[in-house]
C-alpha cells in the first residue's frame, strides 16, 4: 500500500472516530439485509464518502486481504482464517451496501475464505494422507505472490524514469550538417527497358525512322562537343588520339561528320591541303 493510500485510510479512521463520538445517537452506517448496521467494523470505521476512496485504492480482494493481515500484524504464513474472514466479510458487506457495483472478484474471495474456513473446521479424517495440503496453502501462496508484485510495482515506480526524474538531452547540430540523401537505385535493365519503351512509343505515334548509330559515335560526339569551343578554332587533328588506333580514329571521324551534319560543328580549310580547323556553330549562322 502506498503512503498516499495509507494516509487516506488513517485520515478516514481519525475523522471517522471523531464523527462517532457517543454524544449523540449514532446514525445507522448501513442497512444490511434490511437491518441497520450501527456498529462499526471491528478494526475501523470509515465514513461512507471515504469508503469509496478506499475501495478504489484497493487493487482487488488480495490487496484488501493483505491490508487486513498487515493491519493486525499477522504473519501471512500463519493466516488466521477465521479472524481475517470475519473482517473481510464486514468490509464486503459495507462495500456491497454502499457501492452498488462491487466487483465480482470480492465476492469470489469471500466464497474462497468461507470454504477454507469450513474445511478447517471439519475434523481431519483418520485415513487422510499425511501430506494432505493445508487448505490455506493456495491462498497463502497467492497472497505472497501478490505482495511481491505489489512491491515490484512500487520499486518500478521508484526507478529513475525519463520525463520525471531524468531528462534526455538533445543538442542541435551545427547548421552545416546536411541530411545525407540516399539516391534511388537504377539497374541497367531498367534503363534499357525505358529506352526501348520510349522508342517504341515514338515509332507508334510518329512513324519515326530511328537510325541505328553506333553508341560509340554518339559518345564521341559528346566528347568532341565538350572539347571544341565556339570562339576559337581547334585543329582537327587534336580530336584524334593516335593511341586509340584505327578504330578510334574512325569513330572520331564519324562523330565529326555527324556533328557537321547536325550543324553543331563548322569545318574550315583555308586552302587545299591546309590544316582543317573546327569550331562550334552552324554554317547558316556564319554565312
Amino acid at each position: 500500500m502506498s503512503e498516499d493510500q495509507q494516509a487516506v485510510i488513517e485520515e478516514a479512521e481519525r475523522t471517522g472516530s471523531e464523527h462517532n463520538e457517543p454524544v449523540q445517537q449514532p446514525l445507522p452506517l448501513a442497512f444490511i439485509n434490511g437491518e441497520a448496521l450501527i456498529e462499526k467494523p471491528q478494526d475501523l470505521y470509515i465514513p461512507p464518502d471515504a469508503l469509496e476512496v478506499i475501495l478504489e485504492s484497493f487493487e482487488g480482494p488480495l490487496d484488501l486481504l493483505l491490508y487486513l493481515i498487515r493491519k493486525q500484524k499477522f504473519d501471512i504464513t500463519s493466516l488466521p482464517v477465521a479472524q481475517i474472514t470475519a473482517q473481510y466479510m464486514e468490509y464486503v458487506e459495507v462495500m456491497r451496501t454502499l457501492k452498488l457495483e462491487l466487483a465480482a472478484e470480492y465476492l469470489l474471495m469471500a466464497a474462497i475464505l468461507a470454504e477454507i474456513k469450513s474445511r478447517l473446521l471439519l475434523p481431519r479424517r483418520s485415513d487422510a494422507p499425511e501430506d494432505e495440503e493445508d487448505p490455506r496453502a493456495e491462498l497463502i501462496r497467492r497472497l505472497q505472490e501478490y505482495e511481491l508484485v505489489k512491491q515490484a510495482a512500487e520499486d518500478l515506480d521508484a526507478q529513475p524514469r525519463l520525463e520525471r526524474d531524468v531528462h534526455a538531452v538533445q543538442v542541435a547540430v551545427h547548421e552545416s550538417v546536411q541530411p545525407l540523401r540516399v539516391e534511388p537505385e537504377v539497374s541497367l535493365q531498367e534503363l534499357v527497358l525505358a529506352f526501348s519503351h520510349a522508342m517504341k512509343r515514338a515509332a507508334a505515334f510518329e512513324h519515326h525512322t530511328i537510325e541505328r548509330e553506333a553508341l560509340s559515335t554518339r559518345e564521341r560526339m559528346s566528347l568532341i562537343l565538350s572539347v571544341v569551343s565556339a570562339s576559337r578554332y581547334t585543329p582537327l587533328e587534336e580530336l584524334f588520339t593516335v593511341e586509340e588506333g584505327k578504330a578510334g580514329v574512325v569513330v572520331s571521324f564519324l562523330a565529326i561528320l555527324e556533328l557537321v551534319k547536325e550543324q553543331l560543328l563548322i569545318c574550315v580549310q583555308a586552302g587545299p591541303y591546309a590544316r582543317i580547323h573546327v569550331k562550334l556553330g552552324s554554317y547558316e549562322e556564319n554565312q
Partner: protein, 189 residues
C-alpha cells in the same frame, strides 16, 4: 578505412551521442559516423568510458541503457528542471504499474495470467496504454484454447526506466526465488 586519432574519435562519438534523439549503440556508431574509420573495440570502449567519467561531476551524465548510450540530466536536478515543461510527467496508477511489473518479471505472460495473480480483471485501457507507449508488445500466442496473446516488455521500456537489461530490474531476485520455490513446491504439475 581511414585512421582517426583518439581526440577526434572522442569528439565525434560525443557529438553523435548528443545530437541523436535516441540512445546510440556501439553498433550504430560503427555503422554511421564511424563507418569510414578504422576503430578498435578497445579504442571505442575507452572513449565511452572516458566520456562517462568526464561528465560525472557535471549537470548531465552519460549512461548506458538497453538500446545504447544516452546523455541525460542529473536526477537530483529534476525538481528544478521540471518547471521547464508545462505538463508534469504522467503518474501511473497502481493497476498499471502492477500489470507492467508482472509483464516485466513474468514475461511472456497472458492477460489471463496477470489477472490470476492480481485477483482482478485487467482493463483493456491499461493494455492499450502500455502498448501505445511501446513498453509492452505481443510476442506470440499461448497454445491453449483461445490462443491468448503473450506479452513481453520492449527495449523502449528498459530505456525509459534507465535499465540496461531485465536483470537490472529492482526486486528481480525476490521474483526468481518465488518462481523457484513454486517449481519445487509443485512438482506434479
Amino acid at each position: 578505412m581511414k585512421k582517426i586519432n583518439k581526440a577526434q574519435l572522442k569528439q565525434l562519438v560525443e557529438a553523435t551521442l548528443f545530437v541523436s534523439d535516441k540512445p546510440v549503440s556501439k553498433l550504430r556508431l560503427r555503422e554511421t559516423v564511424l563507418a569510414e574509420f578504422q576503430v578498435s573495440d578497445k579504442a571505442l570502449n575507452d572513449v565511452l568510458k572516458e566520456l562517462v567519467l568526464d561528465y560525472q561531476p557535471r549537470g548531465i551524465q552519460l549512461v548506458e541503457v538497453a538500446s545504447g548510450y544516452r546523455f541525460q540530466s542529473l536526477d537530483s536536478l529534476s525538481p528544478w528542471l521540471s518547471v521547464l515543461w508545462q505538463e508534469t510527467a504522467p503518474r501511473y496508477s497502481r493497476a498499471m504499474l502492477e500489470t507492467l511489473a508482472l509483464i516485466a518479471y513474468r514475461q511472456p505472460i497472458t492477460r489471463g495470467e496477470i489477472e490470476q495473480v492480481r485477483g482482478v480483471a485487467v482493463s483493456s485501457n491499461i493494455m492499450k496504454t502500455l502498448t501505445e507507449r511501446d513498453w509492452v508488445k505481443v510476442v506470440g500466442h499461448k497454445e491453449v484454447p483461445g490462443r491468448p496473446a503473450l506479452y513481453a516488455t520492449t527495449r523502449t521500456f528498459l530505456d525509459y526506466f534507465s535499465l540496461r537489461s531485465l536483470s537490472e530490474l529492482p526486486s528481480a531476485e525476490a521474483f526468481e526465488k518465488m518462481v523457484d520455490a513454486q517449481i519445487v513446491d509443485q512438482p506434479i504439475q
